[in-house]
């Protein structure tokens, strides 16, 4: 079994210019294929367009109806996932090697030849699904938080924003034009992991994905400056009343380093220390173990191409709202003002590095990890150097990034009974 520390990445350019990355894992029972296209939500001229296009990809091609596609995908036991994130779109699939040709043929069919014939019906389905998702108080609070943080930018495309813009997405021609602009074969970064001959991988991908689409219109680049310059200019407090809710679902967050920022690694360590590291993180110990305020409390650090976000979530009895918010402030001030001990720092770093091994056990996890790093602008060297970069973070770095980012204006969202909002 080859593991990530021994990674040997074969890099190949297909004849259309797309990048194929292959990582061999001996003994892996299935192959994992991830196709990344840079841009994601940032390319949307109408908010939600990329998400709509994702949904339409597998709803019929020139050769196959939606139902035929579904039957054939199931016949191949092909788990396909199509998703758009803030900075990229992705098609992911796991399959048996014996089904490689049939699987690539069908994926390339909807990659190149989707017809979007289900346009109106799919929009109706999406409206229902988003309403269902937003029926969860926690999902509603998360949605409210992100759309407030990134208000006015494409990074703020949440489920509720998508729902509100669904009626503006009324032209199948616009959707098809977006699809042709974004799903250009030359823009693909393909990441494959599994136990298969590398030459066969390159040969089969060249066969099914080597061609260009010819008529593709040039891609308008995202307004990177707008995303990079976006700031939270003052503290904001957003609420949504759910009088039947047993808990207050509270998010609080600040803008944070983007992927390529030198503060990325210190912020990643800070997040693990504060609330991203599991049962031993500071917020967990203080707010859950010592004060019994919550079952679920954690922090997250999401670094994007052009900006970043650090946030804390807690679900608590509504009357505890202020106590929790004070707890957040207390823990943030502690890390700003008191240097983290060498022992705690070393344990936090090892937490990150050990988990990386645990969460890269399968071909699917490895292919996804490698491809997502490349689409965000990193390369193999960055992946291999990641442990060293984590280990280089100092206590002073943590204090510096905490002071730099957590002292800025913040967004708080609360969903719960109206009496406490």
């Amino acid at each position: 079994m080859i593991t990530l520390k021994d990674i040997q990445l074969d890099k190949t350019r297909l004849s259309n210019g797309s990048l194929l990355l292959f990582n061999r894992i001996e003994g892996a029972p299935r192959l994992a294929i991830y196709i990344f296209l840079p841009g994601g939500n940032t390319l949307d001229q109408t908010l939600g367009m990329s998400d709509l296009v994702d949904r339409l990809l597998m709803k019929g091609t020139k050769k196959r109806s939606q139902e035929q596609l579904s039957i054939e995908l199931d016949g191949l036991t092909l788990d396909v996932d199509v998703d758009t994130k803030r900075d990229f779109s992705m098609i992911g699939a796991t399959l048996l090697e014996e089904d490689l040709d049939a699987s690539l043929e069908i994926i390339s069919d909807f990659f190149y030849e989707a017809t979007f014939v289900e346009f109106e019906r799919e929009k109706q389905k999406i409206a229902g699904e988003l309403a269902m998702e937003l029926d969860s108080p926690r999902a509603r609070s998360s949605d409210l938080f992100i759309r407030t943080v990134f208000s006015g930018t494409n990074y703020g495309t949440t489920s509720s924003v998508f729902l509100e813009h669904l009626n503006n997405l009324n032209s199948v021609d616009d959707a098809l034009a977006h699809y042709r602009r974004v799903y250009q074969p030359s823009r693909m970064i393909i990441s494959v992991s599994g136990d298969i001959d590398p030459k066969r991988v390159a040969d089969r991908f060249e066969h099914y994905f080597g061609r260009t689409t010819g008529e593709a219109a040039p891609l308008d680049p995202p307004d990177a400056a707008l995303l990079r310059q976006h700031v939270i200019s003052k503290d904001q407090y957003a609420t949504f009343a759910r009088d039947d809710s047993n808990q207050a679902h509270i998010y609080k967050g600040w803008l944070a380093p983007k992927v390529e920022d030198e503060d990325f690694y210190p912020m990643a360590v800070l997040n693990t220390l504060l609330g991203g590291g599991g049962l031993s993180s500071r917020l967990f110990i203080e707010l859950r173990d010592k004060q019994g305020l919550a079952y679920h409390v954690r922090s997250s650090f999401d670094a994007y191409k052009h900006n970043g976000l650090f946030y804390i979530y807690i679900g608590t009895e509504p009357k505890n709202k202020e106590k929790c918010l004070k707890g957040f402030i207390h823990e943030c001030q502690k890390v700003m003002n008191i240097p983290v001990s060498e022992k705690e720092l070393a344990e936090t770093k090892q937490n990150i590095l050990g988990r990386r091994t645990v969460f890269l056990e399968t071909a699917s996890q490895q292919a996804s990890y490698i491809g997502s790093n490349f689409v965000m602008g990193r390369d193999l060297q960055d992946i291999l150097e990641m442990p060293a970069r984590i280990n280089a973070v100092t206590s002073a770095d943590l204090q510096r990034v905490a002071q730099k980012y957590l002292s800025q204006p913040a967004v708080i969202s609360v969903v719960g009974p109206s009496a406490i909002l």
Partner: protein, 449 residues
Amino acid sequence: MTMKRECESIKIPYLRESGERITYENGFTLIFVPKQGDVFNISTWVKTGSIHEDDQINGISHFLEHLMFKGTERFKPGEFDRLMESMGAVINAATWKDFTFYYVTGPQGQNGKNFDTVLDMHADMMTCSILPDEEIGPQYDPDDPGYTGEKRERSVVIEEIGMREDQPWTKVYNSLNRMMYPEGHPYRRDVIGTRQIIGHIPRETILDYYRKWYSPQNFTTVVVGDFKREELETKVLEAFKFNGAQPAQPLTEGPTITSGGKRYEEIKGQYQTSFFITGFHGPSPRYFRETIALDIISYILGEGRSSRLVQELTEKPAVPVFNFVGTGQSSFKLGNVFFIQGNFSLDDPKAAMKQVEAEVEKLLTTQPITEDEFRRAVKKLKVAFAETSETASGIADAIGESLTVIDDLNYYLKYLDVLAALDVETVNAVARKYLSLDQAYTTVLVPES
């Protein structure tokens, strides 16, 4: 420690090397699965859950699971979490109707050193937890808005109850269980218990429960990873220090479930959409053929992209009513449950449910499962089974559940053989036996206005 033992070599599906099942004279079962790679898993499954509770102690299994992380004579509260996570291990536990289990999935580390520490602490936690009073926190009335006293783990569980109650699926599921099981049946209650019970249950009751159920006879420990077998067994036996208490025997039969009674219920909530679950009593999980046949039926009816409910209710209608629909089977010691769940946007819940029932009816009468559907489903289940073999935790979970819920490791070891021996006629007969609509129970959570 020397103990009489029975040792059996077991062929683990999709792995090159055989594993071993060792049963000791005190009843403790150790399963060792050699698997190359950088990741190991150690899990201990305990044969208790809400199945052994009553109305006075409902939720005690789950509360105990929380308290098991609160220290031993050797390790202070929080030390287990800190040491495990400082090596990058993922730790957690879960409680359900028939089982409670604790696991650590970790990186081997240099020279495989991490495992020794993990084993030592995991075994100590399983056998020597002290459930400190100060970690449990004082008893209090969680519905008293004036309570200002100390809050510790008792309150964490009360918060977890609140969190679960905020999830629409939990509301529907709990309501369904109250319909499907008679008064006094252990599956009728929610595993997590109630706010009042958790607020008041004394430490002594929890400690008694721990002593009663956490015994070698009720433990199965599964170790998956790249280890030498002989060394591993010695280390495991040294680490698990059982105190010799006489254990309780797990329940194997429940109160008889009689047909009749209420079979459809609507509950209301502040939602925009409606959530439903329909449940059917299934076979004992010890009936492998029928259980696996229902897995096939589930895939054909509502799991696959091309499945009937997905196609007919969400993909094909000109004006879709259903936002989501799916099926599944839950394995329980006292009888499986086959369920259909979904979400819809329609003011008339009964009309929506008629669409679901029509698809089930077609399956049982005019449109039984075809050979094509059957072949696709069998292949899918084979691949899904292979998927569990890709990770140390996947293998450990499958073995632990097989031995704890089904009480028979052969369910896991022979799953692929049983699957291969099924045919479409048998599967259709199983569908007719268990999915009769006059045996269905349905709860729908509908918007208040």
